[in-house]
């Protein structure tokens, strides 16, 4: 038993190791993708590309498989790119191979083996390609095509104006025409770029512009213009593309907008073209008596803003009105909202909303309608309203006149109302004027106050000390209205007499003058 196990292990182990080594040598991370021009043009040499993502090592050799009818050129490297983003490194290697198909038909290219520098290999997945004649219209410098898709519509039906510009040289292209007058834009113009193959096998640059639009009125419309392209495009010293401008005429694109058929047109048809969907739902399908509930109708489709608000025909016992701001239009859908009240408990079947629309495919009018909605109103509790204040006779609210419009309303003011002072202006005016009066009174009071009289006794003493006769006379005269003792009065009189004698008689001031002045030195 043990011997049989040992022999089995010794037999299986080398096979297992060989398998692991083999697998590891073929698939070690990364992938390789073969891209072939589609279609291949018989007789033309076109470039195929092998893109190797995250190879464990650079490709050393490409082993091209033999395919009947296909001729491979010599592979050549088209660059190795390595990037590090957020610390994650990735690399890409591109390899170009010329390929030529011998005849029209479908070819299956089996896996291409890539031999890497580290002795491992990678392989591409098998690819099937078609070989067919190239577009023989792609000749000269360029080709411009314009068309409407579809070429016959009805008013409101979405269509598209398509402008396709093919140039032999890759270059920036601006559209040379625009949607015709009378068309209604349904969105932004889109621009796509691609390539196409000419009959001679050359690859052309193709830019396609697409304007989604519709038409409001029946008639025949066309779009035409001149398309500017550049020939002999080359890069200048600074990498800018330069070329010789050339004008290509654009063959007019025509579209016919037919009248909407009269036959079978519903009365409520609002111009909706294309399928629409409708959905009606209640906020709650069970409410208590006295409670309100919201009803929401959603209509979805193209040009849904044409939809009219449907009439709300409620069953007896149910009242409702459109909610303020409840009509909401959003891209692709429109919402109508109502508020409902029940006047009695019961089960109410709400009306079905329906919208008619024109089906461009069948050229007939069709109708979409909501599913039935049922509202159950429970009896509710009978609790009286807690009322405070003056009671009114009867249980119902006072009748208030309905809003009136028209002539009873005054005309707008249009900004012509007389100016009025602001709310705080009176207070500001009172405070400001009071402040002014206070300041004025203070200033006048301060300015009118008499200056303080100098001390007469000290002034006289100083005058006597200085010996100035006039000063002594003036200082002594200041005591004229003073209340003095008799001795002080006598001293002043003597001093005045002495000063007069000195001023007018030329006599000298007596020596006692200082003593006389000292008698009134304390008189202020």
């Amino acid at each position: 038993m043990v011997a049989r196990w040992s022999s089995s292990v010794f037999t299986i182990l080398p096979i297992l190791v060989a398998s692991i080594v083999s697998v590891a040598s073929v698939v070690i991370g990364g992938d390789a993708v073969l891209s072939l021009p589609d279609p291949l043009v018989p007789g033309a040499r076109l470039n195929a590309t092998i893109t190797v993502n995250d190879p464990p090592a650079q490709v050393r050799r490409v082993e091209m498989p033999a395919v009947d009818g296909l001729t491979w050129g010599e592979p050549r490297s088209a660059g190795f790119q390595q990037t590090i983003i957020n610390g994650v490194s990735s690399s890409t290697q591109r390899i170009l191979i010329e390929v030529q198909a011998a005849r029209e038909g479908r070819y299956t290219v089996p896996a291409i083996t890539l031999h890497l520098v580290n002795k491992t290999t990678m392989a591409t997945a098998p690819v099937t390609v078609t070989a067919a004649p190239g577009d023989n219209r792609l000749s000269g410098n360029g080709l411009v095509e314009a068309r409407f898709e579809p070429e016959a519509v009805v008013p409101g039906e979405p269509a598209a104006l398509v402008l396709k510009v093919a140039t032999a040289d890759r270059q920036p292209i601006e559209p040379g025409l625009k949607p015709p007058e009378g068309s209604i834009s349904l969105g932004e113009m889109t621009k796509t770029e691609g390539t196409s193959t000419a009959a001679d096998g050359r690859e052309w640059n193709v830019v396609t512009f697409r304007w989604p639009l519709a038409f409001g009125k029946p008639g025949a419309y066309q779009a035409a213009g001149q398309q500017q392209i550049y020939t002999n495009v080359r890069q200048d010293l600074f990498g800018q593309l330069r070329g010789n401008p050339a004008q290509l005429p654009i063959k007019p694109a025509r579209i016919t907008v037919a009248e909407l058929p009269e036959q079978g047109r519903p009365d409520d048809f609002a111009g909706l073209v294309g399928a629409i969907t409708t959905d009606a739902k209640l906020e709650r399908d069970r409410i208590a008596l006295g409670e309100g509930v919201g009803l929401e109708l959603t209509v979805s489709g193209r040009q849904i803003d044409l939809a009219r608000q449907p009439r709300l025909d409620l069953p007896k016992g149910l009242t409702g009105q459109a909610k303020q701001g409840g009509d909401v239009t959003e891209p692709g859908r429109r919402i109508f909202r109502w508020q409902l009240w029940a006047e009695a408990p019961g089960t109410y079947q709400l009306p079905v909303f329906s919208f008619s629309w024109f089906d461009p495919a069948s050229r007939t009018y069709r109708r979409s309608q909501t599913a039935p909605v049922t509202l159950t109103v429970l009896p509710g509790r009978s609790i009286g309203l807690n009322v405070a204040g003056r009671q009114l006779s009867g249980a119902t609210a006072p009748t208030i006149a309905a809003p009136t419009t028209g002539p009873q309303l005054p005309l707008p003011w249009r900004g012509a109302a007389p100016a009025r002072p602001g709310d705080g202006w009176a207070l500001i005016a009172a405070a400001g004027s009071a402040a002014i009066a206070l300041i004025a009174g203070s200033v006048l009071r301060f300015a009118g106050r008499s200056r303080p009289r100098p001390h007469r006794g000290r002034a006289l003493k100083a005058a006597v000390a200085s010996g100035g006769i006039d000063a002594i006379a003036n200082a002594a005269a200041a005591f004229a209205d003073a209340t003095l003792e008799p001795a002080q009065r006598a001293a002043i009189d003597r001093l005045i007499a002495a000063a007069d004698g000195a001023r007018f008689g030329g006599a000298k001031l007596p020596a006692e003058a200082a003593a006389w002045a000292a008698t009134v030195a304390d008189v202020p």
Binding site: R381, P421, G441
Partner: protein
């Protein structure tokens, strides 16, 4: 720089005026609902009572009595001495109670508007001079006091009226009791007084006739 700024302001003012004129044009052509957005912007920007009046009139002409009453209430708060907002409120179905200015009658006249400003200046000058003036202080005190007595009633009434917590129902709704049970219906543009902060999605209100209850927040404005 200052010239460019002034020019820009002039251009903006002209544009603003043109926009308002366009809104009135749409209104005059029978599309008042198209005027509402522009008039609302003007009213909110300027806060002039006549702008709020025009907004309310546009709402009323468009058939929205609830929003019209809201605009008229704001116009009344902005210029409580003007009778036009009250008259317009009555036109759309609201029944405003007698205001303080209406109660005072002619006695309120000296205290509101430009006469009130003039009297306030006289009162301030008279009383200020009486406090610190140098002569005829008694006479100016008497004049100032008379002016103050003349201006006070109107000013007080003006402030009381402007502070009235009026609100209106935006559309038909119901008066709820404190337990959340629905009561009698309230027609659109029913004038109420707010009695406090919103509670459980409803605002306590008092109707002009004295009834009290609660109205859902979304049914009341402003």
């Amino acid at each position: 720089m200052i010239f460019r700024l002034a020019l820009l302001l002039v251009v903006m003012a002209c544009g603003h005026g043109a926009e308002t004129a366009d809104s009135y044009a749409a209104w005059a052509q029978g599309r008042p609902q198209e005027a509402i957005a522009a008039l609302g912007a003007v009213a909110r920007t300027t806060n002039r009572w006549d702008a709020w009046m025009d907004l309310g009139l546009a709402h009323a002409n468009a058939g929205d009595a609830g929003q019209a009453a809201v605009a008229f209430i704001v116009a009344h708060r902005t210029a409580a001495e003007r009778p036009e907002p009250l008259a317009a409120l009555r036109t759309v179905g609201a029944t405003p109670p007698v205001t303080w200015i209406e109660r005072l009658g002619p006695a309120a006249w000296p205290g509101v508007g430009w006469p009130g400003i003039g009297l306030a200046i006289v009162a301030g000058l008279g009383l200020g001079w009486a406090a610190l003036g140098t002569r005829r202080r008694g006479l100016t005190a008497v004049i100032g006091t008379i002016a103050l007595v003349g201006v006070l009633p109107g000013q007080i009434a003006l402030r009381l009226d402007a502070a009235e917590p009026w609100a209106t129902t935006l559309h038909e709704c119901r008066l709820y009791d404190s337990a959340g049970n629905p009561g009698n219906p309230l027609p659109t543009a029913t004038l109420v007084r707010r009695r406090g902060e919103a509670w459980s999605g409803r605002i306590p209100v008092e109707l002009i006739d004295g009834r009290r209850g609660f109205v859902p927040t979304g049914d009341l404005g402003p």
